[in-house]
């Protein structure tokens, strides 16, 4: 027994150690930092930072831009989450059909955006969204629609980001759903067919209930992911215009790494952390009932 424990630590130890150094310790450090006024001056001389209790959180509560970022992030989540889920499920169902041809080609196409470098994609998308020379408005123009000034109009910018985010997240979630679909035993469908169920009924009463663990996983991961929206607005708009695409993490980045108010930035991180934890717990609770 003793030796087995020893061997467990030999194998798990290195990764546990890395996890400790790069995840656990920083989490506690940022909790501590959030209670200080740690700024650029304190970076050289730690003694210049003071503990200021919950002052950062009080400031944050009155910070107009933080609330703006908060609302923007939830706006993105509330649209991107259902849209990605439905589209990914649809894609997966189509890919799972027996008579779909060139399945692998489609799988690759769906999955490519996920593995491609975000920076490279963002540059391409900034061109797609270019109102005068971009693909998006050209296509809309074919249907006689005059497209908006996507990234420079405060009303449309966040929607443009959401389009980008959904497109990017689609492949990964399609693959997860596909894996879930393939785990459903074929007998269930056969039984349903014997009972005279049509395709829609099979989907509703066999596929969906059987996919439930996958759906819970997918949506939970999406909540966690979308709440940390950062790269897309950072690359495409830097939070503008009029802070319409400022997300919580982008605001954190701005405070922490542009203004070097690391204490304040940490308090944003703590709030985000609590937000993600509580939403995740809520999501898992809902699925259990």
């Amino acid at each position: 027994m003793k030796t087995s424990k020893f061997w467990v630590f030999v194998f798990v130890g290195p990764s546990l150690f890395l996890l400790l150094i790069f995840s656990i310790v920083p989490i506690f450090a940022s909790f501590l930092l959030s209670l200080t006024n740690f700024n650029v001056y304190a970076l050289v001389d730690w003694s210049r930072a003071r503990f200021i209790g919950l002052e950062n959180f009080r400031d944050l509560f009155h910070d107009e831009l933080f609330w703006k970022a908060f609302l923007n992030t939830f706006y993105c989540l509330s649209i991107a989450l259902p849209v990605t889920t439905v589209l990914a499920l649809l894609n997966a169902v189509l890919l799972n059909r027996k008579d779909t041809r060139m399945k692998n080609l489609f799988k690759v196409c769906f999955f490519l955006p996920f593995v491609t470098n975000t920076v490279a994609i963002a540059i391409v998308w900034s061109w797609i969204f270019n109102p005068r020379y971009g693909l998006m408005n050209w296509v809309l123009g074919l249907f006689g629609i005059r497209g908006p000034q996507w990234l420079s109009d405060p009303k449309w910018a966040m929607l443009a980001i959401i389009v980008f985010v959904v497109w990017r997240g689609l492949g990964y979630n399609t693959l997860l759903f596909l894996a879930g679909l393939q785990n459903i035993p074929q007998e269930l469908y056969e039984a349903a067919e014997l009972d005279g169920a049509n395709a829609w009924q099979k989907f509703l009463y066999v596929t969906l209930p059987m996919l439930r663990p996958t759906t819970v996983f997918v949506t939970t991961m999406m909540i966690i992911g979308y709440l940390q929206l950062f790269e897309e607005p950072y690359m495409l708009t830097q939070g503008g215009p009029m802070n319409a695409t400022l997300s919580i993490v982008l605001y954190l980045y701005r405070q922490g790494f542009k203004f070097f108010k690391l204490g304040y930035a940490s308090s944003i991180a703590v709030v985000l952390f609590l937000l993600i934890i509580s939403l995740t717990v809520l999501r898992l609770k809902l699925s259990r009932e």
Partner: protein, 400 residues
């Protein structure tokens, strides 16, 4: 055996020579880092027992690298420093104060342009020496302005507004000038404030953004967007300039070469001009300075290198290498600068150019300014309201 002896002898000799050699470590960024070795070789010829080590840092990583370097005490002797970074790093106390060095050197305040010298001074101390400058001027299409009746560039605010109206009147899809309206555009906006005679902070540290001059600048800037004279749809600067849909923009010397490279078809159809005048024609001056780090062990050597780079013949040499404009006034007497019609404009603009206040919170202030001006551009607030809000924002930032 004899061969071995010779080898050992040579080895010892090399060891002794190396140990006497002093190493000067320099951090440089971007294009500068690639070409700096040419200057370094020249420097070594003059100072044979010195070795210069240049570490290239990409601009995108430079801020973090400097900051972690300062936090960890891992710094070179000397570094190239963007003018807007002088204050944040200077405030931390990373740079050597240079007044004692200046006392026994040919380098003086008057060696450089005023606006450029402004970027190295903080709280009465001197924390760097200007290396090269970027100054913004007006780029415009001569042929298109001629079409609307302007034989020369607009000289005043009124003329700029007038020509803008006429350029817009050419039809749908035509604009007059390109201005930034999103992101952080303090560098683009501030010249208008200075031209109107306004300022952000006065000598006593009072916030002066509610002064009529500042409000006037906001109004002037935003009006180009309200009336559709400046596009809010992000096009492409080069394409728009070449097509003539946006025939005016404000930018720095690097654009001269870039326009020639990107859109050779408009060669000879464009020129540069001084900033338009309200009460002044002030522009923004940036560029890079040299700084010596406080914990350097080769400060004398680093200073020697700065002196070397400041000599007019080396300033012009550097201009030949990468087209960076000399910060040293005397270097502008060399024929390739003195006789170039475009460079003459830059030279004249340098006489009337300023840099933002050297305060460590500049980045935060610039972000606040951009945010409020943007709200005016999108008509969420009147210029006066925005200025009042901005005053509160900046006071909060400076107080901390």
């Amino acid at each position: 055996m004899r061969k071995l002896m010779i080898f050992l002898y040579l080895f010892l000799f090399a060891l002794v020579a190396l140990s006497q050699q002093r190493v000067l470590q320099i951090w440089a960024m971007g294009e500068e880092a690639k070409k700096l070795n040419v200057m370094a070789e020249k420097f070594v010829q003059e100072n044979p027992n010195v070795r210069v080590e240049i570490q290239a840092i990409p601009w995108s990583a430079a801020y973090d690298k400097l900051l972690t370097g300062i936090a960890g005490g891992q710094l070179p002797d000397l570094a190239q420093m963007g003018t807007t970074w002088m204050a944040p790093f200077g405030a931390i106390g990373a740079f050597e104060e240079l007044t004692p060095y200046l006392a026994k050197s040919f380098i003086k305040k008057e060696t450089f342009f005023d606006g450029s010298w402004q970027t190295v001074t903080m709280n009465g101390g001197v924390y760097g020496i200007p290396w090269y400058v970027d100054v913004r001027v007006m780029f415009y299409r001569t042929d298109i302005l001629k079409e609307v009746g302007y034989e020369r560039a607009p000289q005043t605010w009124d003329e700029l507004y007038d020509v803008a109206k006429k350029l817009k009147a050419r039809g749908e899809g035509y604009y007059a000038l390109s201005l930034l309206f999103t992101g952080v555009f303090g560098n683009e906006f501030m010249p208008f404030v200075w031209q109107a005679g306004g300022k952000i902070l006065d000598e006593k540290g009072n916030v002066r953004v509610t002064d009529p001059e500042f409000v006037e600048a906001i109004t002037f800037y935003a009006r180009f967007f309200w009336e559709g004279l400046a596009p809010t749809a992000g096009g492409n600067l080069f394409q728009d300039f070449a097509k003539g849909t946006v025939p005016i923009f404000f930018s720095g010397p690097w654009m001269v070469r870039m326009i020639d490279e990107q859109t050779p078809e408009v060669k000879g159809k464009w020129s540069v001009a001084l900033m338009p005048k309200k009460v002044k024609r002030t522009s923004f001056v940036g560029g890079c300075n040299w700084v010596i780090f406080k914990n350097s062990k080769n400060k004398d050597l680093a200073w020697k290198f700065i002196e070397f780079m400041t000599r007019p013949e080396n300033q012009i040499e550097w201009y030949r290498l990468v087209s960076n404009l000399p910060a040293v006034v005397e270097a502008w007497n060399f024929p390739e600068l003195a006789n170039d019609p475009m460079m003459k404009v830059f030279r004249a603009q340098l006489e009337d150019a300023m840099s933002p206040p050297n305060v460590p919170q500049w980045e935060e202030i610039a972000t606040a300014i951009s945010r409020r001006v943007e709200e005016v551009i999108f008509k969420r607030r009147t210029p006066q309201e925005a200025a009042n809000m901005l005053k509160r924002d900046i006071e909060k930032i400076v107080r901390k």
